[in-house]
Symmetry: C2
């Protein structure tokens, strides 16, 4: 149904996608307003419903789109290439940054839909989410080389603590750079700071 939309120029498409992602991410499915979306995207109401038959179809399109982007630009670039958890997460942080630059609200959107519970989309959303989560889990945590960890504490605990700490670090960074314009983000400083934390984790959690 949304062939009209996929033919659009890239920047216009992205601005609509980001406007819709933002609205759904901040208010959830039911309370998200198509009026706000068109205002933010700078298009008319008619245009939006020319691209998508309904709010529901727009939402499900966004889900599929997000899942495609995350799978291709993120998951597939990470998994299997290295069993070292810290290397994997270092790479993941880079990739996340790249996605964030093009689609700033995407990760907030994902966070939101994973707790979304509107009955109008429940079933269709759930099946997409399940597939997505399984794939992500596999790529990020499958085939881990836990023999790299120090052996005097349980490997799964080390894995969990590492992931939790780095996830939180990621959220903080996103909040910090959230206000700034994309160009003026000091990626260099961010990377060295991040590397320091990775180093500490390696020293404390890995075999020496």
């Amino acid at each position: 149904m949304h062939e009209n939309f996929t033919g659009l120029k890239e920047d216009k498409r992205d601005s609509i996608i980001n406007a819709a992602l933002t609205e759904f991410a901040t208010k959830g499915y039911e309370l998200a307003s198509t009026n706000e979306m068109v205002k933010a995207a700078g298009i008319s109401k008619g245009a939006l419903f020319h691209y998508f038959a309904s709010k529901k179809e727009l939402f499900l399109f966004l889900c599929d789109y997000v899942f495609k982007v995350v799978s291709q630009e993120f998951y597939e670039q990470i998994g299997h290439c290295d069993g070292d958890l810290l290397i994997r997460y270092g790479r993941a942080a880079m990739l996340k940054g790249a996605v964030y630059q093009r689609y700033p609200p995407m990760f907030e959107f994902i966070k939101r839909i994973s707790v979304e519970k509107s009955p109008k989309i429940e079933d269709q959303l759930k099946e997409r989410l399940v597939k997505m989560m399984a794939y992500g889990y596999q790529c990020l945590l499958g085939n881990l080389d836990t023999s790299l960890f120090r052996q005097d504490v349980p490997a799964d605990k080390i894995r969990d603590l590492t992931i939790w700490a780095l996830e939180n670090y990621g959220n903080r960074s996103m909040e910090l750079i959230g206000d700034q314009r994309v160009e003026e983000i000091d990626l260099e400083a961010l990377n060295t700071d991040f590397a320091q934390y990775l180093d500490v984790l390696r020293r404390c959690f890995y075999k020496q």
Copy 2:
């Protein structure tokens, strides 16, 4: 203005508080519906506006109430008594559990208002938040004994990583027990599981 409210019986008061907290926490100030609150609390619309002059006053009352509870039941029980970060966080987890049992939506409410940006309450909220955050930071992180940490990595990094990991652990636990009824939560199992993670952190991050 809310003298009518403070005189209520405890369970009725709590149910109204929790209904309002939930509504504000899930939808934010602007989109939170007083209709939904009264429905969830099992009182009439008239009653709510008999207790509080307006939605705004209700919201600010809740802020003050939450800050009082968190300060008295949480922050003041933690700080200064011990410089050991892990002991402090262990204690914090217990206290958090206690608050959660009486006011399940309280921490979600706090999370939400710290990113709230409705202009109608912005100023009054901001000043409360600033005070709150400063006090919380002081109690949780003030007077830390970093000499307990291993000395071959920077103490502030260890502190950050510990806090991030444990915060994430806390969120996960809350999500897990979020569905269950309060009585059937297996606190014993939770505590031993938590203790294991604390132990790993102590082994890896502390002097041996």
